[in-house]
Amino acid sequence: MSAAAVLADIDWHVEQQVFFYLIATTQVVAAWRVVTTKNIVHAALYLVVVLAGVAAQFILLGAEFIASTQVLVYIGAVIVLFLFGIMLTQARIGAENDLDQPNRLPAVLTAGLLAILTVSTVIRTFEDVELPDNSRTTTASVSDSIFSDYIIAFEAVSVLLLAALIGAIVVARKD
């Protein structure tokens, strides 16, 4: 039985809520730890938690294609890149004292205000709009969309990847 079929059997109104709150709390805590942990490897691992959480939320929202892409791209590639980056650059892996710097207040204040402003906006706009019960989108419909309405974007992404590829090679070249 495919994952999609399993998901289709779930009563969304209860399970979705439970899962949402559970995952959301985990995500926020993990994100917080990414920002605050002194161990860079831990930061990367907490990031994995957040990203996996995002993938889970995508599934809850019925966006299975995006969820699987999220897992493939982020957890499969990005995080590995990060870990390689840590290995290649850090002289020692472990605690670092990079939070011991003055003037954290403006940063925290700015971020706090940013959170308050954006959160208040979305709450105000969507106060009591229930999550619509529309059907989950299929991978086919997403790909249809990508290759019709968003064909230019798709082409642009290919150029973007090319640029990234060449860029990485250029940056990595020997002196």
């Binding site: 954006t118 706009t125 249809d144 064909i151 230019i152 640029a163 860029g167 250029v170 940056v171």
Partner: protein, 502 residues
């Protein structure tokens, strides 16, 4: 039809109007072709060839835009959208496509001598330059916020790498990482802004958004306005509007000089293209909401740029801050939210691109091997050492100061006219104040060049490509400074439009 057999009912690919995409295809295709040719046969090709090919490709993209210009300015046909409405071809986008393509030509010509002097030569720089320009052109023609974002990312990623291209220079690497981190940060804001706008209007397509905003009165526009704010952060960063300008001086100072020339011209043009298309054209109905904040941004940008420029000692840094204050002048045109305002920004961009490329061309050769000699003191006595070089720089500086008989004068003139037309008297006065303050800065460089002596008699080599750039730029600045009409007419005819595909 092969595809029809595989997936009979799913994919309905849109018509691709290849003609509309000629500039994009020429730039990106040129990059790919160049990459292939040089990886296969690079060792047998002369060292000067990449820059020539790049210049030719840039020129080709500009020439390839001519038929589009003919089409959009033809009263019977007019502007159009192509490829599922995600590419908009109008006078505005064609004008900026040409500007960006020509900055590529200049940046490639400048790079030739520079890269060989710094022993960095090879096709990679040029490939990245072309890809970056392709991204810029994508931004200028984008009719969809996602396409616009992707264009911006293509442009930025390539330029991040170019900023750090001088890999033996610590400053260059510092510039790259600063630009990258902050650029990624601001892109995130831009993207969030796109998301909120999408949430508020139900589409990322500018044509649809515009139509929606015209036909619907939002009960609560909080989401949309928050989207405005975040979009403005992202785009303000690209055009280095204060307070999103902080990266500019550091990155300009650290990056290889030909790259800076491209950043200050091509990248800025793409940024303003997006700013104008998104705010003035698409969100025009909400102008009353965003105009005051652009007013504030313009004032801050004009003053901070000019004031900080005055206290600098490094010419590249000075020019960086002065480019911020020039961005302030362009923001005036954006703030005006009128046809004249848009035309003034286009004119300013075209003219300023030439000026700033010329200026950085001079800086690039004076800075010497290692690209490090860029303090004001290093320009002392340039008038005696290389009079023509000093003369060209003087022309560019005078034009940047807005002295009459140069293109810079008309640029400032039209910007201020746009402000006054919109009854923004105070803005016009601040602009003039900023011009007066900044004049001191240009004067300082000129004094160093002409009036101060120097014991440095190391020869300054001016490569052929740079000579060509300087000659063309100076002739442009003076020629169109005396007879501004052709460029003004072009900028006036380059009207933006949002239309559905027929």
């Amino acid at each position: 039809m092969f595809f029809a057999q595989v997936a009979p009912d799913s994919i309905v690919t849109p018509d691709i109007a290849w003609t509309a995409l000629v500039p994009h295809l020429v730039l990106a295709g040129g990059a790919i072709l160049m990459l292939m040719v040089w990886s296969l046969a690079g060792r047998w090709l002369p060292r000067w060839l990449p820059s020539m090919v790049t210049a030719a490709v840039g020129l080709g993209a500009a020439i390839g835009s001519i038929h589009l210009w003919r089409r959009v300015t033809d009263a019977d046909r007019g502007p159009f959208s192509a490829v599922a409405d995600s590419v908009g071809i109008d006078g505005f986008s064609v004008f900026l496509t040409v500007v960006i393509s020509l900055t590529v030509v200049f940046a490639a010509l400048l790079a030739d001598g520079y890269l060989r002097r710094e022993r960095l030569d090879g096709p990679e720089y040029h490939v990245l330059l072309l890809l970056s320009a392709a991204g810029g052109v994508t931004m200028a023609t984008a009719n969809d916020l996602i396409v616009l974002f992707l264009g911006l990312e293509i442009l930025s990623l390539a330029v991040y790498v170019l900023a750090g291209y001088h890999n033996r220079r610590a400053q260059s690497q510092e510039a790259a990482i600063k630009y990258f981190v902050l650029g990624a940060f601001s892109s995130a804001f831009l993207l969030y802004g796109i998301a909120l706008t999408y949430g508020a209007t139900g589409s990322t397509n500018l044509v649809d958004i515009n139509a929606y905003l015209r036909s619907t009165v939002l009960v609560d526009d909080g989401l949309l306005l928050a989207g405005f704010a975040l979009l403005l952060v992202g785009l303000g960063f690209k055009v280095s509007a204060v307070p999103f300008h902080t990266w500019t001086p550091d990155v300009y100072q650290g990056s290889p000089t030909p790259v800076v020339a491209f950043m200050a011209s091509g990248v800025k043009a793409a940024g303003f293209a997006a700013l104008l298309r998104v705010f003035v054209v698409t969100f025009g109905t909400y102008a009353d909401d965003w105009k005051p904040i652009l007013y504030a941004l313009a004032v801050a940008t004009l003053l901070v740029g000019a004031i900080l420029a005055v206290v600098q000692n490094d010419v590249k840094r000075m020019l960086a801050y002065s480019s911020i204050s020039h961005a302030g002048f362009m923001l005036i045109g954006v703030h005006a939210a009128s046809a004249d305002g848009t035309a003034s920004v286009l004119y300013y961009l075209a003219v300023y691109s030439v000026l700033v490329i010329g200026s950085f061309a001079v800086v690039g050769v004076v800075s010497g091997t290692g690209d490090g000699a860029t303090t004001v003191g290093d320009f002392a006595g340039l008038g005696a050492r290389r009079p023509w070089l000093a003369f060209a720089f003087t022309v560019f500086l005078l034009a940047q100061a807005g002295v009459p008989l140069t293109t810079g004068f008309f640029a400032k003139f039209y910007a201020i006219t746009a402000a006054v037309d919109g009854r923004s008297w105070a803005l016009a006065i601040v602009a003039m104040l900023s011009a007066v303050i900044a004049a001191y800065l240009y004067l300082r460089i000129m004094i160093a060049m002409w009036l101060e002596g120097s014991d440095d008699d190391a020869p300054i080599r001016v490569p052929v490509g740079t000579v060509v750039v300087l000659g063309v730029a100076a002739a442009f600045t003076i020629g169109f400074g005396i007879f501004p009409e052709p460029i003004v007419d072009l900028a006036r005819d380059a009207t933006p439009a949002l239309v559905n595909s027929p």
